[in-house]
């Protein structure tokens, strides 16, 4: 049941023309998996575990050494999205969805745990937060080279 809601929630963005080349892809065990192309033609991979209700943007940020300044800054950014200083309509409400940062050998994934009663909301907030990661967190002069290397930023525009 929750898989179909999550699938529909992601397909919504494909229907709207935001995600391109959206597809459900083969996955292991209970995981549902999806791939799509989004901002600057970057390919994203997302999995959903219905038992844990965990929606994961897999390896969202590659090549970020654990405990590096970028790793710490990213964790702080994700946490900041739960604070009252963020307008309510953009804030991450922990009662409905939480976000965890996982760094495995330098590949950072963002794992959202969705509340069973707020699955649709959880998918929406997850997509929005990933969008903010790219548009706000990475849009810093510190990460220009990183954007060029991993997010198809044109060096002429850097």
């Amino acid at each position: 049941m929750s898989v179909s809601i999550v699938t529909a929630g992601l397909e919504h963005y494909a229907t709207r023309g935001m995600f391109r080349s959206f597809s459900a892809v083969a996955s292991r065990g209970r995981l549902a998996a999806f791939e799509f192309v989004w901002i600057r033609d970057v390919r994203f991979r997302v999995t959903y575990d219905p038992v844990r209700r965990a929606l994961t943007f897999v390896d969202l940020l590659p090549e970020v050494p654990a405990r590096s300044a970028m790793d710490r800054a990213f964790r702080a950014f994700v946490h900041s999205r739960t604070l009252p200083s963020v307008p309510a309509h953009r804030r991450l409400d922990p009662r409905r969805v939480t976000a965890d940062v996982r760094n495995r050998q330098g590949a950072v994934s963002l794992v959202f745990t969705l509340s069973p009663r707020h699955l649709e909301h959880g998918v929406t907030r997850s997509v929005h937060l990933v969008h903010e990661v790219i548009m706000d967190f990475l849009n810093d002069s510190l990460y220009v080279d990183y954007l060029i290397a991993h997010f198809n930023l044109n060096p002429e525009m850097a």
């Binding site: 935001m18 901002i39 309509h89 929005h128 969008h131 706000d136 002069s141 220009v144």
Partner: protein, 552 residues
């Protein structure tokens, strides 16, 4: 041909470099909304103009490129000079082009040209004519194949929105909690600024400007989001009006669930790049008037408060960069561009000069990342984002000359400030391309003041990732561009401290007002500011749309 045009009394300016004079014509169009023509000689002059024709194409300027050509009777004989086919060269960078080969059809093709320039979405028109055309003479109109007045070869009639589309748009805007109009240059060209203001204020809709020209809503309006970058992510409905060149998803900072309406004069472009929930074929002004009439009064206190908070955050960040810039300037004995921007803005908007007076040309590259954040637009046509979209480095003095001509003539919305000095900003890389037009500005007594951010390097030095490649991006140290301007009859100033810069601005302004003198202020900066040694380094990252935008 240029003699004939000048003989009619049409204001004409003859300059030094074809490409830069082409940019001047583009610059004139951008701040007036009027058609401007530019001309160059057959081969070299015409090919020299290509960069600025391409730039005008991306900016959708109504630019008429008139380029003569050699005699058809000598084609393929390789016997003369400057022979080439011009039209293939402008393929993809014009709205319409034609090589006129039959003399008695000249009026017919002039009609084609002006129909394209004055209708729908503007863009460059390129006419070239071999010497057989230039040499033709007609005793009267009966010898022309077609000859009828402009009232018959084009129309001022524009598309009006369908009532059902307006009803749907009203429903969507009314339901939205945080709507925003993206007011592109079409609002300016169609003189839709009063209707835009009426709509925004009546229904409390935020407005952010886009495109190569700004000021048709104004940065200081409480509903302006030009400085409210952080609020863009909150918008739940965008209404593109007059956005000629559409961004791709991800180029604008709106969230992935934002709904979109687009108003555009022609249907063929609706849905391009950005998925739409509603497309409306209409003239921009007509649509804004219809929406302003149809929407009820509404207050959106929370949205207005969020806009104000976002503006405050942006300005606080500017202040932070300025404070860093002051520190870096003291450390290096040069001027950081954040300081240049702040001081220029203080001079133009917070001193004795009415803030609406000065038309400004924003050029440059790395320095522009800082100054663009400070410079403001308070009335239509006040701000030309010179490198918009195509980002040519160099023609900035041409754009300044075009804006200066517009002020000198009091053309279009510049009329209220006729004769006032114009200001601009460029880099040391850019000014090298166009500095010769200080001769032209001096010749025509155009009071123009150009600040040159001199950091001794190409901005792309940030891409020099090896020591061995570094030299390719370097210029000689501390070149005196001010002395070149002096040699061309203009004034020159060379400054190395913030205090000297403020004093130089005042002297330049006084000379502009009193003597109609042009001034180049050479602001000595440092390429070290481009490194992470001086964070935020090369330039703060931009957010579009808004004051930091240059792509769309």
């Amino acid at each position: 041909m240029i003699n004939a045009i000048s003989a009619t009394g049409t204001p004409a300016y003859g300059g030094r470099v074809e490409d830069i004079m082409c940019a001047a014509a583009d610059g004139f169009s951008r701040v007036t909304g009027e058609v401007a023509a530019t001309a160059g000689t057959e081969g070299p002059g015409f090919t020299n103009m290509i960069m600025s024709i391409a730039s005008a194409d991306r900016a959708h300027s109504p630019l008429l490129v008139l380029a003569s050509n050699m005699a058809m009777s000598n084609e393929d004989r390789l016997g003369g000079i400057q022979q080439m086919y011009q039209q293939p060269t402008t393929e993809g960078i014009k709205k319409y082009g034609k090589r006129i080969t039959i003399p008695n059809r000249v009026h017919e093709y002039a009609a084609h040209a002006f129909r394209q320039l004055k209708s729908g979405v503007p863009g460059p028109v390129h006419l070239d004519f071999p010497s057989e055309i230039l040499g033709a003479r007609f005793k009267d109109a009966s010898e022309l194949k077609d000859f009828y007045d402009k009232s018959r070869y084009r129309t001022d009639c524009v598309a009006h929105p369908a009532p059902k589309d307006i009803a749907r748009a009203v429903e969507m805007i009314s339901k939205a909690e945080r709507p925003m109009i993206i007011a592109g240059q079409g609002v300016f060209y169609r003189k839709g600024w009063e209707a835009l203001k009426r709509l925004a204020e009546k229904h409390e809709v935020a407005v952010v400007e886009s495109g190569p020209v700004r000021g048709h809503f104004g940065d200081d309006h409480r509903l302006s989001a030009n400085l409210a970058a952080d609020a863009l992510g909150s918008v739940d409905l965008i209404v593109f009006v007059g956005q000629y060149l559409m961004p791709n998803v991800g180029e604008y900072r709106f969230n992935p669930d934002v709904k979109a309406i687009r108003v555009h004069p022609v249907a063929e472009d609706l849905g391009r790049n950005w998925p739409l929930d509603l497309g409306i074929v209409s003239d921009e002004k007509a649509a804004l008037e219809a929406l302003a009439d149809a929407l009820p009064k509404k207050a959106r206190a929370a949205w207005v408060t969020e806009l104000a908070a976002a503006r405050k955050k942006f300005e606080a960040q500017n202040d932070e960069y300025y404070a860093l810039g002051v520190k870096y300037s003291q450390q290096t004995g040069t001027v950081h561009p954040a300081v240049t921007g702040k001081l220029m803005a203080d001079f133009l908007y917070n001193g004795k000069i009415p803030k609406e007076q000065t038309t400004y040309v924003q050029g440059g590259w790395t320095g522009a990342g800082y100054t663009r954040r400070w410079m403001r637009a308070h009335r239509p046509g006040q701000f030309n984002n010179a490198p918009y979209q195509y980002y040519p480095i160099g023609p900035d003095v041409g754009h300044l000359l075009g804006a200066g001509a517009a002020m000198q003539l009091g053309a279009g919305p510049q009329k209220a400030y006729q004769g006032a000095p114009v200001f601009g900003f460029t880099g040391d890389a850019g000014v090298a391309y166009s500095i010769m037009e200080f001769d032209t500005m001096t010749k025509y007594r155009i009071p123009a003041i150009m600040t040159v951010h001199n950091n001794n390097a190409w901005g792309m030095i940030t891409a020099a990732n090896t020591v061995r490649s570094h030299h390719m991006y370097l210029f000689q140290e501390n070149l005196r561009y001010d002395r070149i301007a002096e040699a061309l009859g203009a004034r020159g100033e060379y400054v190395t401290t913030p205090e000297q810069y403020t004093a130089a601005l005042q002297r330049a302004y006084d000379a502009a007002v009193k003597d109609k003198a042009a001034t180049l202020i050479n602001v000595q900066s440092s390429r070290q500011f481009l490194t992470n040694q001086f964070p935020p380094g090369a330039q703060p990252r931009n957010v579009e749309p808004g004051v930091t935008a240059y792509s769309h």
